[in-house]
């Protein structure tokens, strides 16, 4: 795992001091709230409905045990004892006091963390596959490149006042778990015909009020050229992206209005002039970063563990958890254990201070001190011996972290909605809780199989409803909340944007509406079909019929 060197440490330290001064200026009344706003936003400090909110960066979703433990401490000392993991693989705290935030940042800096660029019209935290470095299906660990992107993008002097925020996601696996096609830039590692590993570059994906799937701007860019190519895209966007209307300022609109061929032409022209310059990264430097993400000291184990098999036979709840939450590891005898932050009836993505500390302890004991945050708002212990899975699950279960629902109907992505967010038009959390309770029965969830429900409390789509197999968008209609349903969205390598089923449902009706969709799916599915597969086969009509009948 990447460790800061003295340069990284110095930079974060200086930033922390700088923000302390800025807060001092604000509290003393030397600057107005309006003048303070861009300064605090650049440090992840929002002003929400009820309080300030602090969003802490978790670069590419990778955490060390000491870092997660510190996040728990911060929840306890500076907040109300919990934090909320987000679809950007970050964590946010809902109740810090402004005058205490500089101290919280100092405590973060002690464990090599910060809140830089978690907000503002700059390049945000780069996200990636939560199973990076562990997944059996991976071409290469994407994190060394993510770390290089982190450094390249941190305080980039040219790209700190972009037309809008800018999000980059990377996947090192053909099975995309990072939703790269719905990011401003998506990078997919693959091999070209010459057998070299590099990146397919996609641009212009995104959700919000005008959702798009990203388009390929270049089939292959070599690793050495990645950064000059990214800089070329960003320069074209900074110069030519729309600034007249903030809703039309994302790169997806530029790509849509100008066409991908025109944008490609501009980017290639720009890139030709800078590709051999100082941003070219040589193999030795890349090797240095790859070394820092070297696999931990795995033991040579048989892939079969008798005790593990016995525990599954003896304990049905454990077997259920293994079935849904444990994923194949590239190293024999090891597994990837997903920690669900979606207990039945709980708030998606929330974790308490003691839960964070427990996962930190477990990671230290069983997973080389390595923890991941997923864009689906769960945690991961990426390197657990199969022989230890039962012990890990037993500890998680006691702390309400052992829910066996990964990828199931209750593993809901939800934005904070009207309970916290100043932009929201409807509540999301209570709805996700009610859906979770309605479908809480595990056998039923398992029978339904993979079904991704994603809920957003407003058109900005932080809950990714456009790419939910079932998406739910909360809106406000004459002072009353109602919920619009979309079907057929997908954030994976087969990315698609969901279609609106029809008129929205009242708060009282919406859970029944979801249930009728699920019942219809069970009724018409063919063997082995997931909800999304059935939808793709039969289309909207059968589902529309159960939702609206003759209406």
């Amino acid at each position: 795992m990447y460790r800061y060197d003295d340069f990284d440490r110095q930079l974060v330290h200086e930033r922390t001091e700088q923000f302390r001064e800025q807060v001092k200026r604000r509290l003393a009344g030397d600057i107005t709230e309006e003048q303070f706003r861009p300064l605090r936003l650049m440090n992840g400090v929002y002003l929400q409905l009820h309080a300030y909110m602090l969003r802490v960066a978790v670069p590419y979703g990778t955490l060390r045990a000491d870092q997660l433990r510190q996040l728990g401490m911060i929840a306890r000392v500076y907040d109300k004892g919990y934090g909320h993991f987000t679809t950007r693989q970050n964590i946010q705290y809902n109740w810090p006091k402004l005058d205490e935030i500089p101290d919280a940042l100092l405590d973060l800096a002690k464990v090599e963390m910060h809140a830089i660029q978690t907000s503002g019209n700059c390049i945000r935290n780069t996200t990636t596959d939560q199973y990076a470095g562990a997944a059996a299906d991976e071409i290469e660990d994407p994190r060394p490149y993510c770390e290089l992107i982190r450094q390249w993008s941190t305080f980039h002097p040219e790209f700190t006042y972009l037309p809008r925020k800018f999000k980059i996601a990377v996947t090192g696996s053909p099975n995309d778990r990072a939703a790269v096609k719905v990011h401003d830039i998506g990078l997919r590692m693959h091999q070209n015909d010459a057998g070299e590993t590099g990146f397919e570059v996609m641009v212009g994906g995104g959700l919000g009020r005008t959702p798009f799937v990203g388009k390929t701007i270049r089939e292959f860019i070599g690793k050495n050229d990645l950064f000059s190519y990214l800089e070329a895209i960003l320069r074209v966007y900074n110069r030519f992206g729309r600034r007249d209307n903030k809703y039309k300022a994302r790169i997806k609109i530029l790509v849509h209005e100008e066409g991908i061929d025109k944008i490609r032409e501009l980017v290639e022209e720009e890139w030709a002039q800078i590709k051999d310059g100082s941003l070219r990264v040589d193999d030795a430097e890349i090797a240095h970063y790859i070394e820092q993400f070297a696999p931990p000291a795995f033991e040579a184990l048989s892939d079969d563990d008798a005790d593990f098999e016995r525990h599954k036979l003896e304990n049905r709840r454990f077997a259920n958890w293994v079935r849904s939450n444990v994923i194949a590891h590239k190293q024999p005898g090891y597994a990837i254990a997903n920690v669900s932050l979606k207990p039945i009836g709980g708030i998606p993505g929330d974790a308490t201070d003691t839960q964070m500390e427990l996962v930190a302890d477990l990671s230290e004991k069983y997973s080389f001190g390595d923890v991941r945050v997923t864009h689906e708002q769960n945690l991961v212990l990426p390197h657990v011996k199969k022989a230890d899975l039962f012990a890990v699950w037993s500890e998680l279960d006691k702390a309400d972290l052992g829910t066996a629902n990964l990828g199931y109907v209750t593993d809901i992505i939800s934005c904070p909605g009207l309970d916290y967010c100043a932009l929201a038009t409807a509540r999301s959390i209570p709805l996700s809780q009610r859906i979770s309770e309605r479908f809480g029965d595990l056998d039923r969830q398992h029978d339904i199989g993979e079904l991704k429900i994603k809920i957003s409390g407003c058109i900005n789509a932080c809950g990714h409803h456009h790419v939910g197999h079932i998406g739910i968008l909360g809106l406000d209609k004459r002072g009353k909340e109602f919920y619009q349903i979309t079907l057929g969205g997908d954030a994976s390598q087969d990315a698609s944007i969901g279609k609106i089923a029809g008129a929205g449902f009242s708060e009282a009706e919406v859970v029944d509406a979801i249930e009728s969709l699920v019942t219809k799916y069970i009724d018409i599915r063919e063997s082995g079909e997931r909800f999304i597969d059935t939808y793709r086969r039969v289309g909207m009509d059968p589902f529309k019929e159960v939702l609206y009948g003759d209406r």
């Binding site: 060197d5 861009p38 980039h156 002097p157 040219e158 900074n238 310059g277 430097e285 240095h288």
Partner: protein
């Protein structure tokens, strides 16, 4: 109100005109918007005083490629601090086109942006405060950070090159 360049406050020695304003006497220093420069290029280049061009957001610095050595100053307008196009113009002018004259940021130039502007090739800042206050602002802004990740042609050594030097020394 005050212009800070190279760690000192300098005098405003330039007349700035907009698209339509009357030009001052031929031997006076003059800054014109790019659009006007393109329209009246020959007569402007024939004047005796110094000549500069102002770039506004949306302009293409490439339009000045043939005349850079005739310009003493280019001002880049930041009408709002949120409009960051000028940062790209600075890098293109300095690093690609090799402009060596004064590159001045004008408009909504805030203290917290000065370091970024400097990194993109700006060497002068038109600030809306008095001379000494302006000078102190620029000094403080340029000192606030000491670690730089990106190579931008501003002469600052990046963390990466310092790391490489260190590794080389250890070998």
């Amino acid at each position: 109100m005050a212009i800070v360049k190279n760690d000192s406050v300098i005098e405003q020695e330039w007349n700035t005109v907009d698209a339509e304003g009357d030009l001052p006497a031929s031997d006076e220093n003059l800054i014109v918007p790019l659009a006007r420069f393109k329209e009246e290029r020959d007569s402007l280049l024939g004047r005796n005083g110094g000549l500069g061009v102002q770039l506004n957001p949306g302009d293409a610095p490439e339009d000045l490629a043939d005349d850079l050595d005739r310009l003493s100053i280019i001002t880049v307008n930041f009408p709002a601090y949120t409009d960051g196009r000028g940062y790209s113009y600075g890098r293109v002018l300095r690093e690609r086109m090799g402009f060596t004259g004064e590159l001045r940021a004008v408009g909504d130039v805030l203290r917290d942006q000065i370091l970024y502007m400097h990194r993109c090739g700006f060497d002068a800042y038109d600030l809306k405060v008095e001379g000494e206050v302006a000078l102190n602002k620029v000094r403080a802004a340029l000192k606030e950070m000491s670690v730089y990740y990106q190579p931008t042609g501003d002469g600052r050594v990046t963390a990466q090159s310092l790391r490489e030097r260190r590794r080389a020394a250890l070998q």
